[in-house]
């Protein structure tokens, strides 16, 4: 068979590989996604809109956005701190910190939720203290924020660490030696160098924060209109034989995910040069 490119695979193999990938994508990603929209609109657009206007669905949407609005900035901040300390400093326990950052990826979300029940639940370690001080964490918004933050913690840090490692500390040292303060150095040197990676990490973190089911399910208490997030609301609607509404709400989540994806693509396309430049040393 004639060799057509320097990598050396024949054209046939290329086409087979591309074909497999596309078929796989079509069945695993595209088909279910289409199905969500088809099911949601099956009874017509009016029914679809009515399903989205439901007060409990609105409350769930508000809660989901509130939780994301708290946990994503927190994780962006903690992610930067963690990546900063891991890549720009040497200290005892650095490897431990690195493993801890990955912990939420390796622990089942349900376990993550249970950890908080064990800590803050009425029978948990801090339960009696919290009750005597009238602080609600579990089965309330703070618990949902905590669980979501825990589950989505690695996204920003994971995105930043390799980049910051590759970039080294020379630019920061240059800035400090030029008389800039630490904060000035961070704002004008470190942050601009990592901003695309940071934005990318924040997008991923946000997508997961809004879609998280397992951990949130454990700490939510499922109080309608108060502690149900969008994914929990979808489950409830589905279990109430309210399939059209369930899929309608699912299209909300899917749309949020699609917006994320589009933003990410635009970012990559718009800033391809800077991304390449900032990855170069």
């Amino acid at each position: 068979m004639p060799r057509t490119d320097p990598i050396g695979e024949s054209r046939l193999i290329q086409w087979v590989l591309i074909g497999i990938s596309l078929t796989f994508l079509a069945f695993i990603v595209f088909l279910p996604l289409t199905l969500v929209f088809v099911e949601a609109l099956r009874k017509g657009f009016g029914v679809y809109l009515a399903a989205l206007k439901d007060a409990e669905t609105w409350a769930a949407l508000r809660l989901t956005l509130t939780v994301a609005a708290i946990s994503v900035p927190l994780n962006a901040l903690f992610g930067i701190c963690a990546a900063w300390s891991v890549t720009k400093h040497n200290f005892a326990g650095k490897n431990l910190l690195l493993s801890l950052i990955d912990l939420p990826f390796s622990v089942s979300p349900v376990i993550s939720g249970l950890i908080y029940v064990l800590l803050f639940g009425a029978q948990g370690w801090f339960g009696p203290w919290l009750r005597s001080h009238h602080v609600e964490i579990i089965f309330a918004v703070p618990g949902i924020v905590l669980a979501t933050t825990f589950v989505t913690f690695p996204f920003v840090a994971r995105e930043l660490i390799p980049l910051m490692q590759a970039q080294g500390t020379e630019e920061e040292e240059a800035s400090l030696s030029l008389g800039a303060s630490g904060l000035h150095t961070f704002w004008h040197v470190t942050l601009p160098n990592i901003k695309w990676a940071l934005l990318y990490g924040v997008l991923l973190c946000n997508a997961r924060a809004m879609g998280e089911f397992g951990a949130v399910s454990v700490v939510s208490g499922h109080v309608r209109g108060l502690t149900n997030t969008l994914p929990l609301q979808i489950e409830i609607l589905y279990n109430e034989y309210n399939f059209t509404a369930a899929f309608a709400v699912a299209t909300l989540l899917a749309s949020l995910a699609l917006v994320t994806l589009v933003l990410k693509t635009i970012l990559e396309w718009r800033y391809a040069d800077q991304l390449a430049a900032s990855h170069k040393h």
């Binding site: 240059a174 800035s175 400090l176 030696s177 008389g179 800039a180 004008h188």
Partner: protein
Amino acid sequence: MSVAVHIRNIEKRFREQSVLHNISLTVEGGELLALLGPSGSGKTTLLRTIAGLEFQDGGDVFFGDINARQLTLRERRIGFVFQHYALFRHMTVEDNIAFGLRARPRSQRPSEHDIRSRVFELLQLVQLDGLEKRYPAQLSGGQRQRVALARALGIEPRVLLLDEPFGALDAKIRKDLRQWLRELHQRTGHTTVFVTHDQEEAFELADRVAILNGGRIEQVGTPTQIRQRPENTFVADFLGQTATEATPIAQILPMKRKPQ
């Protein structure tokens, strides 16, 4: 000439390893001094210690009469040029050079107009006028080197410190830049310390050379003094070698083309 930098009994350890051992050295005002030695001799660590980027475990650094321990990094006013330049990759040449002035606290910051005219003076000084809107990635190695130098000069440093200033450049440009740096030094008169492993570079450029080995200073003197009277066998051996193991490939390759 006044004393610009005085180093007294510096000790520095990384983990258990001693990297600088009882180093004392004086740099006169306006002098161009080379720290010469093989890789691992401690010359870069010494330079970074003077700059305040590393902290010594023992001994003191004085700028004139002032002990550097009392000074913040900003108050040291060191112009440091990194081996790989460490230019801010997301800033234009102009913004790079203006960085030190703009980073000053408001009360000490010159007006934006003054900053700009200072930047253009510096661009002319390093012969880069017209390139102020470029990004570092759009410059050649030699041009980046000169931007780094202009940026360091921008803060009106008491001392200019250069870490292997020509290490990342190929042989032809090294020679040109060397010549140019010598002229620049004569014109501006900045007290300058630079690190190199290349003795030809050190002897051609520097007023005085300090030879380091294993974290100690083996000999300090003018190029002529050292060439004529090496104080010990290490210095003699080191001078005898033409190309050490640390010579970069960039320097060897063009030589190969010469007919033997």
